[in-house]
Amino acid sequence: MAREQNYNEVERQLRGYFDAQREELKAPADMWSRLSGELGEQAPTSWWHRIDVSSWLRTVQPVYAGAAMIAVVAVGVVTYASFSGDSSSDATFSTAAAIKTESAAAPLAPGEPGSEEVKGVAGLPSLPGEPGPPEVSSLEMATADDGASAPVAAAAAAPPAPATTKTPDSSADSRVALAFGEPQIFLEPLIDVMLDGQRLFSITLPPDWAIGGPRTAATGWEGTLVRLDDGFFLSYQGGTSVVGDIADVLGSDGDKHVISEETIGGFSAQLIQPIGDEEGVTAVLLQLPEGSMLVIGQNLNAEQQQIAFAIFRSIQPG
């Protein structure tokens, strides 16, 4: 009983404190006038929100809704079965990631008409435990001398989809998709990220993502890429004195990450991902003629790492 009274007393004091803080920390009265000019354009609705299943379910008789859901599941199962029965199609997915137009029936393979290979691009990070193809020559293992971690590093670095192609005109209006089996990541057309009239870089993001910033920072410029559905985000920063070396990013955790080198947007880039689990940094560090650019996420799960890598590879520095 005494303990309960104590908790009530703590709660009373907390509420008193926060009530006072609420008065102290009010937003400025002119908040709207500050914001209204900065709002910008709204992001388009994703296909999932467009079909608005939840409101449809609210208006349809449960029995019809149930029947429709069963039908959708059945179609999905049949489709999955038809694909999984063909081992060669699995091989194609696991070895040839492709950026394709959304309407395309299948990913474009390297060398296929209408596709253009991006030089030096390694595969996407694989899901934990997912086997990758035998060749991982384009990747450098940060901890290859560690007998215990090397196999894990190889598994983590071995991409399910190493060769990347894209359509020749990525600035067209059609969305593009980076296909590597599941999940399939759809990217919107390139967006120019500008600051004071200068293009810092261009990037493609999946739907429902927004760009925070850029704004001037002590080190150059910075901002955030945010998935609005769940708040998953990546930070970006660039300039002459951001990060010169990947060791500055990883500190003493260097041996817990795999680092691969690629060319992204015509510039030398290092891709970093944690070995084995979700703890650690997923990032790209681009070396630019005047400084560097870092895009970084922390403790991302496997799906988030794949999305991050897809976004990283779309960067075209200004």
Partner: protein, 192 residues
């Protein structure tokens, strides 16, 4: 109780209509959201970062992101959704701190305010009590202070707090419980 539920339902319906108009691109409707939630967001941001300038920036950016992404908001608690955007922006800021991009120490920490009381002794007592609470909150681990802030300052429910932080309700309850236990030790003379 029934009357209160009716009022809450009406408020919820009104907010849903405002959101729908925002999703149709109505900026005037979004002004309503800004005016209703900007203080909550700014205060929450300050209590998480301890920096007025960053809190100002975070709350503004959260509202801008909310406007740009409101088409993806599909019901539920608008307040929790806004808090979630803010929390993630806040985490992003504190991560940048690790790279030496900014110093979040703020010398202008607001001092506890006296209540509007004619009794000087009572006012002094209130100030002392608030100072004790502030100090006790400062020594809480970040994850516990976050939960306490969202529950008692932002006035989110346990479910909304879980949504805003992207964690399970059980985790919110356990963090809250641990925080309350620590605060009890700091704020209440133990009579057990």
């Amino acid at each position: 109780m029934e009357g209160r539920d009716t009022v809450q339902d009406a408020a919820h319906a009104e907010e849903a209509e405002i959101v729908r108009r925002c999703q149709d691109g109505d900026r005037d409707a979004f002004r309503f959201i800004v005016e209703r939630y900007s203080s909550m967001l700014r205060g929450t941001a300050y209590l998480m970062t301890r920096n007025h300038a960053i809190a100002e920036e975070l709350s503004q950016e959260a509202l801008i992101l909310a406007w740009r992404g409101i088409k993806s908001f599909n019901g539920g608690s608008l307040k929790a959704w806004l808090a979630k955007i803010l929390v993630n922006k806040s985490v992003s800021q504190s991560r940048r701190k690790d790279f030496g991009a900014m110093d979040i120490d703020d010398p202008s920490t607001p001092q506890p305010m006296a209540s509007q009381s004619d009794d000087p002794a009572a006012a002094t007592q209130t100030i002392l009590e608030q100072e004790r609470v502030r100090t006790a909150l400062e020594v809480l681990p970040d994850d516990q202070r976050e939960v306490v802030t969202l529950r008692f300052f932002s006035e989110l429910s346990v479910a909304e707090t879980a949504e805003a932080l992207g964690i399970r309700e059980g985790t919110v309850k356990s963090r809250l419980s641990r925080a309350m236990e620590r605060l009890r030790g700091a704020l209440v003379e133990d009579e057990d």
